[in-house]
Structures are given as structure tokens and as C-alpha cells.
């Protein structure tokens, strides 16, 4: 690990007075003077748009910086620290846990203009700045016969920085591993505005940054591992008359030795929502749909593996259809990626969970969640990366007509189902502010204390994305 200090442009001098249409506060004015107006947003009409992610609206920031280099990030962090305001990093704000939605007014650093990307085919590596769009890595690598496997549903929008901050997964991650598994090196700016370049050696501080949701540092660049794409890929869709049967098929297929590259599930409500969007002819009456890819270097093996999955589905009461063409397969996967936002067709708002449970418990878990949903006044839908036990139960509601507390309550009971079956709260979306309250159920007090210790070490003043992941200590004292 090496560290380096960048010179800080100091803000001595008189602060610019606020003026209509200009900087509306001292922080914005200072930043504008140092970074120039192009990189700083200070008008209300601009700042309003940096208060949300894909699930939650937070506090309107005092200023937004759109850095074009790591040096700009350093300048911004130091200015925010001098002003004593919190700092929230932001990629494309396509996250689903409130991670990029500020809980209090402060500085938002939005990485969408840090988009330098270099492919090193000989090393099978990509160097990507934080704002590089996820899919852009594979698009740039493909001409060199390489891909970057992590494929969150939002990969056309999401950024590498955001993906690493949340340790994003995706369908490919069942076989190929999640975002963090592809990181060879990281550059980040710490809470004091110092730049660090980390490899994966002891203590693997890079590993600590991955999935830390911007609470320990701001990732500015990553060196990512690339792999050659599998030579052959085959896709099938199976549908089932009951959700538990679908989960049983998954356990059966994996027990039989199949290692699909993707294994995804969506229930009836999800299927209907995406069918309303894409009109692909998906089975609207099925209670559960399973999408499966097998891939590899040898077509016979790929076909054999698909056959194992097919047999398992049929044995569990499913109906199977193989995709006839690559294009048909691609359409099915587009449908899967569209599920989460398509749920907006059912209710305007949703509480999105991200539980991971042992595969053996899947049939019980999906059935219990289904029963909780049936007994509640809300539509509760389920989909997710069922191959690795990562499910996204979503509670759909209309905040104007329905009680948000009841939603939170039901979300808590769903989280407890996962925990009771030996599961965890978050597979890939992060905890953010949405699931922060459930952390005490999921993590024992000693572990929580250790996590707090890490946070205090790297961010002693609590400036980085406050109010995320760790439940507040005040609450801890109130409810020991």
C-alpha cells in the first residue's frame, strides 16, 4: 500500500456573497472558486437532483461536485471537511438501498464524469475510473476477446464505483463471482482527502472498501480482472404452478451436479409486470418462472448441463422451453433485468429486500414469504438470483394511501424469515439506510462493535455517508 498527498488549494480569501442563480451557500462558493463553475453545482434546481437513488429520496445537498480527476475529489473532500459537512459519494444512483441518498445536507460527489477506461489485454485487466459505466468495461474488452462478468440488472446505467461500493452482483455472479472478486487494485480518497492505492495484500484494505457503501472512503479508480467469455451459452426457461416447486427444482439441479452460469427466478406478479413492458409472450399464468444459462468451452458439456437442469425442472412439476436462438435468450435476460423497475407498474413505491439464504432452505423461505404476503394488505413479490440463494422480496405500496410503518413492519418480518433460516440481510444491494434498522437482528453486538471500530479508524469524524449501514449508537443505548 502506498499513500500520497496531493497539494490542497487553500481557500483563504473572502467568501463570495451568495447571489440569485449563483452559489447559494459558502461551501458551494468555495468549491466553485477552487474547482471552477463547470464542476460544481450550487443552484437548487441542480442540487435537488442529487438527493435520490433508485429507491429513496434523501436530503438536498448543499453542493454537488462533478469531479474529473482524483485531484478534484481530494479538493472536494478537504473543502467539505473544512466546512464540517458530510460527504456522500454517488455513481449513477441506480442503487436500491438508499446508499447514495444523503440523510443530511452536505456535499455530494457524483462520479459520472470520471469515465477514463483503459483495457490491458496482455494482463487481462481494465483500469476504470469510478464513473465508468459497468457495461462499458465489457464493451471495450470484447474486441480483445475478454469480458468483465459482473452484470447487475442496471449495468447499462450503473458505474464501477457504485458497483464496488455496494459489491454488486448479477445473474453471472452465481458462477463467476461478484464485483469484489474482480478487483486487483483500488485507488480511494480517505476522509482526510488523502489518496491511497491498494492491492489485495494484507490487510486487504481494498476488500474492506468493497461493499462499504461510501462509509469508509471514496473509490476513485479500480484495476479489474477480465476473463475470456465462454465459447458456448445455452438458455432455458421453465415455469411452475407453485413458487416452492421452483425452488425445489433449483436444489435438485444443483444436487445433480449442474453448475449453471445463471439461475434466476421471478414470481407471477414479476412476470406479468415485465410482460406488460416487453410483450415477449412470457407465461403469465405461471406462479414462478426460472431462467437458466449454462455455458462453457465444450458444446456437449453445455448441453448436458442444460439437460440436468431441464430434468430437475420437469421432476419438480415444471414446464421447460429452450431458447431457440441467441436473440431469444437475450430477450429473456432483458426481461429479467427489467423486473425491478417494472414493478412500478403495480404500485409507485417499494421496499426492496436482498436476503441470502442457504439453498437447502429456499423452498421453505419462498413459501413462508409468500404466506406473509398473502396475509398482508400489500402485494409482496419475489424474484432474484435463486442459484446462490439471493432473493429480492419486494413489498409494493402507495405511500399516499398505505401505511409506511406497516410496510416497514412486514419488511422486518421478511428479514427475520431469512435470519431464522440461517441467512443474511444483503447479498448485493447493500444495507444503506433502508435495512439499517434490521442490522441488530442480523449481526451480534460484538461484531457490530468491531464494525464500529473499523468505521472510527477510517472515518473518525463520521463524515463519510453518515447514517448508513451501522445502526446509531444512541439507539443501542436506548434498546440494549
Amino acid at each position: 500500500m502506498s499513500t500520497e498527498k496531493l497539494a490542497l488549494t487553500t481557500n483563504s480569501g473572502v467568501r463570495k456573497p451568495t447571489s440569485a442563480g449563483g452559489a447559494s451557500n459558502a461551501l458551494a462558493a468555495d468549491l466553485t472558486r477552487v474547482l471552477g463553475p463547470r464542476k460544481v453545482l450550487s443552484n437548487l434546481s441542480e442540487r435537488l437532483n442529487y438527493r435520490y437513488d433508485a429507491i429513496q429520496f434523501g436530503a438536498t445537498p448543499l453542493a454537488v461536485v462533478l469531479p474529473e480527476s482524483t485531484g478534484d475529489v481530494v479538493t472536494a473532500v478537504r473543502a467539505a471537511r473544512a466546512a464540517g459537512v458530510p460527504i456522500v459519494g454517488r455513481g449513477a444512483a441506480s442503487g436500491l438501498s438508499g446508499g447514495a441518498a444523503p440523510l443530511e445536507p452536505g456535499l455530494v460527489i457524483s462520479f459520472t464524469r470520471m469515465t477514463r477506461l483503459t483495457i490491458h489485454p496482455e494482463r487481462r485487466e481494465a483500469t476504470a475510473q469510478a464513473g465508468v459505466v459497468t457495461l462499458a468495461v465489457t464493451e471495450a474488452a470484447r474486441p480483445h476477446g475478454l469480458i468483465y462478468p459482473p452484470d447487475p440488472a442496471s449495468f447499462r446505467t450503473s458505474t464501477i464505483g457504485g458497483n464496488l461500493a455496494e459489491n454488486a452482483g448479477g445473474p453471472m455472479c452465481f458462477k463467476y463471482g461478484v464485483s469484489g472478486d474482480y478487483v486487483r487494485a483500488l485507488e480511494f480518497v480517505d476522509a482526510d482527502g488523502e489518496v491511497h492505492r491498494l492491492t489485495r495484500d494484507v490487510f486487504d484494505l481494498a476488500g474492506l472498501l468493497i461493499g462499504s457503501e461510501g462509509t469508509l472512503g471514496l473509490i476513485t479508480e479500480a484495476t479489474l480482472r477480465l476473463i475470456p467469455p465462454p465459447k458456448f451459452t445455452r438458455t432455458l426457461m421453465a415455469h411452475f404452478p407453485e413458487v416452492g416447486a421452483c425452488a425445489e427444482a433449483v436444489s435438485r439441479a444443483i444436487a445433480a451436479g449442474a453448475v449453471p452460469s445463471k439461475l434466476e427466478f421471478m414470481d407471477r406478479a414479476c412476470t406479468n409486470a415485465v410482460e406488460d413492458y416487453l410483450h415477449l409472450g412470457l407465461p403469465r399464468d405461471a406462479e414462478a418462472v426460472l431462467l437458466v444459462d449454462t455455458d462453457g468451452e465444450d458444446l456437449d458439456t453445455v448441453q448436458d448441463e442444460l439437460r440436468l437442469v431441464e430434468d430437475a425442472c420437469v421432476a419438480s412439476g415444471g414446464t421447460v422451453r429452450r431458447a431457440a436462438t441467441d436473440d431469444e435468450g437475450a430477450q429473456l435476460w432483458r426481461a429479467r433485468r427489467s423486473v425491478s423497475p417494472a414493478l412500478g407498474r403495480i404500485r409507485p413505491q417499494r421496499m426492496n429486500e436482498d436476503i441470502v439464504v442457504p439453498r437447502s432452505a429456499l423452498p421453505d423461505v419462498v413459501r413462508e414469504i409468500r404466506a406473509l404476503g398473502d396475509a398482508s394488505p400489500f402485494p409482496v413479490v419475489q424474484f432474484g438470483h435463486i442459484g446462490d440463494g439471493n432473493l429480492h422480496p419486494n413489498i409494493l405500496f402507495d405511500p399516499r394511501r398505505e401505511d409506511a410503518h406497516a410496510v416497514h413492519d412486514l419488511a422486518h418480518r421478511i428479514a427475520l424469515v431469512a435470519i431464522r433460516h440461517g441467512g443474511v440481510l444483503s447479498g448485493e444491494h447493500g444495507i444503506g439506510s433502508m435495512k439499517r434498522d434490521f442490522m441488530r437482528d442480523a449481526v451480534d453486538p460484538e461484531t457490530l462493535a468491531a464494525l464500529r471500530g473499523v468505521k472510527r479508524t477510517l472515518d473518525p469524524h463520521g463524515a463519510l455517508n453518515p447514517g448508513k449501514i451501522l445502526p446509531s449508537e444512541d439507539d443501542l443505548h436506548a434498546h440494549p
Binding site: G21, S338, G344
Partner: protein, 425 residues
């Protein structure tokens, strides 16, 4: 998206706007589809950001003048609508919002007169033709003229062709198989009169009688999309009176922007007495490529004469065909129906060319960047011909392709079909 838009006080258009905002789950899937987000990389200039801004203005939390620059930069291309899984009718939202907000806008005298001139000249083909001819002589002066005038001059072709008035009725050749009404459009009559001539020839050749009803005029899309709602309503009502949907198998347009405009009539008149008439009218509206493709799919299209040599055609998706009308397969199928023609897909094909109605007059800088990017993408496929189905795209692409030194012909899809029928391809 949770909102407190005062629907009651905003009327029918308020319902349209609140419905769109309700449907948005702010997932951000629209960001990579948006041309201005691609160029500027900030949230205010993305569809999701604009929805938030419109919501705030409608709720009274943000002055209109603060939001206006970002809303004005929206091309209305509706690529975000294609990309949106939750089904936000963004096109309806921005159109209704512009109509609602325009009377409250404070504009400079220069801006006001520019808008007035555009909205007067565009729907009046004769006036437009005169203006285009004058412009043609002013073209060499472009470098020394103010930027506001340079944009439109750059788009003018080297020679402005003479107008060719279309006959009121074009009889079917051979056995008559159908009868359609045709909207002749505005600017294209002056800039590309062969579009209409080719359309009439191709339809007649296929046994379709074409009627050009009296009293028809501009579709109103340009007025509507720039917020001149009263102007637009006059034009919409004139067309509803001119076209009697019961008399025709279909009402055809060969300009993507106009066709999309005609299909929007029910939304424009939502909650008004004419809404039912507008629905009956819009149900008959088809783009020329949609109509011909139904003939092709039914095995009824006259087979085109094979091209004299293998030809590659780069097909450009006009936003108002692909995104606003969902018409993508039909024009490609028609081009492929010509033996010897291979259709090429353009990289970043979903990204707007920057023409977007009056956009290249109002936002020349962004329009220029998008035009340059589009021309590069098209030329990267090294096509023999470039096809599109919209006059706006046609002039924009032609201008930027020439600027990059390429002589590749830019044609309407139906012109290529027409050439094939005439054995001239």
C-alpha cells in the same frame, strides 16, 4: 414517484402529468438512453432528473425559470420511453408540461420573435419554401452571421428544389386494393418534394388509391412540443375536420414526427369534448412503412425489381418512429424485401441525431454535437445508401454527412423502394 401535484387545479393535462410522475420509480434505466445525459453527464439533463424538476415546479417547490434550461434541452426523442420498464409516458409529460408552462415563461424579445417565426414558417410550406430559397442565397454568409441564424442555414441543402404540388387523388394502378388518406406534411414539401411523390407512386403501384383531403394542415407537433398549445389545438381541430377516418383504410404519414404527432391527438384532447373523435382518428393513423409492411406480411406487396448490384443501406431509426411509435421492424423489412439490399445497423442507433423538430434551431450547439456523432456512427458502417423515415433526420444527417466529406446519398425508405420499382436502384 411520490408527489403532491395539485391535479384538481391543473385539469385534464394535470392528470396526464401526475400519471407520468406517479409511474416513475427513479431507477435510472433511462439515463444511458438520453442524448443530453450522454453529452453533459449530469442528472438535471437526464429524463429522471427532468421528471423530478417538473414535479417540483408543479408542486410549487421550484421556480419555473430555474428548471427551464434543463427542460428546454430535452429533445423529446422519447428514447427514455423505450428504455423505461415501469412505463412512464415521458413524452406525454414533457409535452403537457411545456403547454402548461409556456404562458408563464419570461422570454426575451429576440427569443419571442424567433419562436414566432419558426411556428409561422414551419406549418406553411409556401412561406417555408420562400424562406428556404432566401436562405440558400444567404448560405455563403453563414460564417459571419450570428449563431442563431447559422444553424438553420447549415441545414439547408445546396439547392432547394421546386415545390411539386400533390394531386388530390392518386388512383390505384391495376386492381384497387385499398384507399388511404395522406398527410402531405410541411417542411418536406419544400425541402424534399420527392418524398411525397415517391410515396404516391409506391402506393399506387400497390393498388392503393391515395386521397389528400382538403383543409388538412400541419399536424401541430412542432407547436405542441414547444409549448404553443393554443396554436397546436387549432391545427389539431382542423385536421380532425379534414380527415374522416370512416372513409379510409388508414391515414398515412411519411414523416415520423408528423405521424407521431397525429397519434398524440387523444392525449392532447384528454378530458375535452373532442377526445372520442381524436381516438377514432388516431386509431387509423399509420406510418407509410407500417402500412406497406402489412402488405408485405400479407404477401400482397408488389415485388420490387432487384437492385442492379448488391447494395448496403444503413437504416437510421428516427426517434419519432422507433421510440414514439414503436416502428422498427417495418422499414427494415421493406428494405430487405428488395433483392440485393442488405440493411446495416448503426452503432448507438437509439441515440437521437439532434434534429428533433425545432431543436436544431433552438439548441444549435447540442444539436450539432449529436449530428456529428450520428454521422460518424452511420459512416462507420460504410454504407452505399443511408435511409430514414423523417424529414428532420434527413436534413440533419445529410448536412453532417456532407460536412464529414461523404457523398453517400441520404434517402427516405420509400424513395429507395420507389427507385427499386422503377428499376433505378
Amino acid at each position: 414517484m411520490n408527489n403532491e401535484i395539485p391535479v384538481q387545479t391543473l385539469g385534464g393535462q394535470g392528470e396526464v402529468m401526475a400519471h407520468a410522475v406517479d409511474a416513475c420509480v427513479h431507477c435510472g434505466f433511462c439515463l444511458p438512453a438520453c442524448p443530453t445525459y450522454a453529452l453533459l453527464g449530469d442528472e438535471m439533463d437526464s429524463p429522471r432528473g427532468r421528471i423530478v424538476l417538473m414535479k417540483e415546479v408543479l408542486e410549487g417547490g421550484l421556480p419555473l425559470a430555474d428548471a427551464a434550461p434543463h427542460l428546454d434541452r430535452c429533445l423529446g426523442c422519447q428514447a427514455c420511453v423505450t428504455a423505461c420498464p415501469s412505463g412512464v409516458p415521458y413524452g406525454e409529460l414533457i409535452t403537457a408540461f411545456r403547454g402548461w408552462s409556456e404562458p408563464q415563461r419570461q422570454r426575451s424579445a429576440f427569443d419571442r420573435s424567433k419562436r414566432w417565426a419558426i411556428l409561422k414558417a414551419l406549418p406553411a410550406p409556401r412561406l417555408f419554401s420562400v424562406a428556404a430559397r432566401v436562405g440558400q442565397f444567404a448560405k455563403p454568409l453563414a460564417p459571419v452571421l450570428p449563431a442563431a441564424l447559422r444553424g438553420p442555414l447549415d441545414l439547408l441543402p445546396e439547392t432547394v428544389p421546386a415545390m411539386q404540388p400533390s394531386p388530390k387523388v392518386t388512383p390505384a394502378r391495376g386492381v384497387q386494393r385499398g384507399r388511404v388518406a395522406f398527410l402531405v406534411g410541411c417542411a418536406q414539401q419544400a425541402l424534399a418534394p420527392n418524398f411525397n411523390a415517391a410515396t404516391l407512386r409506391v402506393l399506387a403501384r400497390n393498388g392503393i388509391e391515395v386521397v389528400i383531403p382538403d383543409g388538412q394542415g400541419c399536424c401541430g407537433a412542432a407547436a405542441l412540443h414547444t409549448g404553443a398549445r393554443d396554436e397546436a389545438l387549432k391545427l389539431v381541430r382542423a385536421n380532425l375536420n379534414a380527415f374522416n377516418p370512416g372513409d379510409f383504410d388508414a391515414i398515412l404519414s411519411n414523416a415520423a414526427g408528423c405521424g407521431a404527432g397525429l397519434k398524440e391527438y387523444p392525449m392532447v384532447l384528454h378530458g375535452e369534448p373532442d377526445e372520442a373523435r381524436a381516438k377514432a382518428f388516431a386509431a387509423k393513423v399509420m406510418d407509410i412503412s407500417e402500412y406497406l409492411n402489412t402488405l408485405l406480411q400479407n404477401g400482397e406487396l408488389e415485388p420490387p425489381v432487384p437492385a442492379s448490384r448488391p447494395l448496403t443501406v444503413a437504416y437510421h431509426d428516427a426517434c419519432h418512429l422507433a421510440h414514439a411509435q414503436g416502428v422498427r421492424a417495418a422499414p427494415r423489412a421493406l428494405l430487405r424485401a428488395i433483392p440485393g439490399v442488405r440493411v446495416l445497423e448503426v452503432p448507438e442507433g437509439d441515440l437521437c441525431c439532434g434534429s428533433a423538430g425545432t431543436y436544431n434551431l433552438e439548441q444549435p450547439e447540442l444539436a450539432g454535437q449529436l449530428g456529428e456523432r450520428k454521422a460518424k456512427n452511420i459512416l462507420s458502417t460504410t454504407p452505399d445508401l443511408i435511409a430514414s423515415g423523417n424529414i428532420g433526420c434527413h436534413t440533419q444527417i445529410q448536412s453532417h454527412v456532407r460536412r464529414q466529406g461523404s457523398p453517400t446519398p441520404v434517402l427516405h425508405t420509400v424513395e429507395i423502394l420507389d427507385r427499386a420499382y422503377r428499376g433505378e436502384l
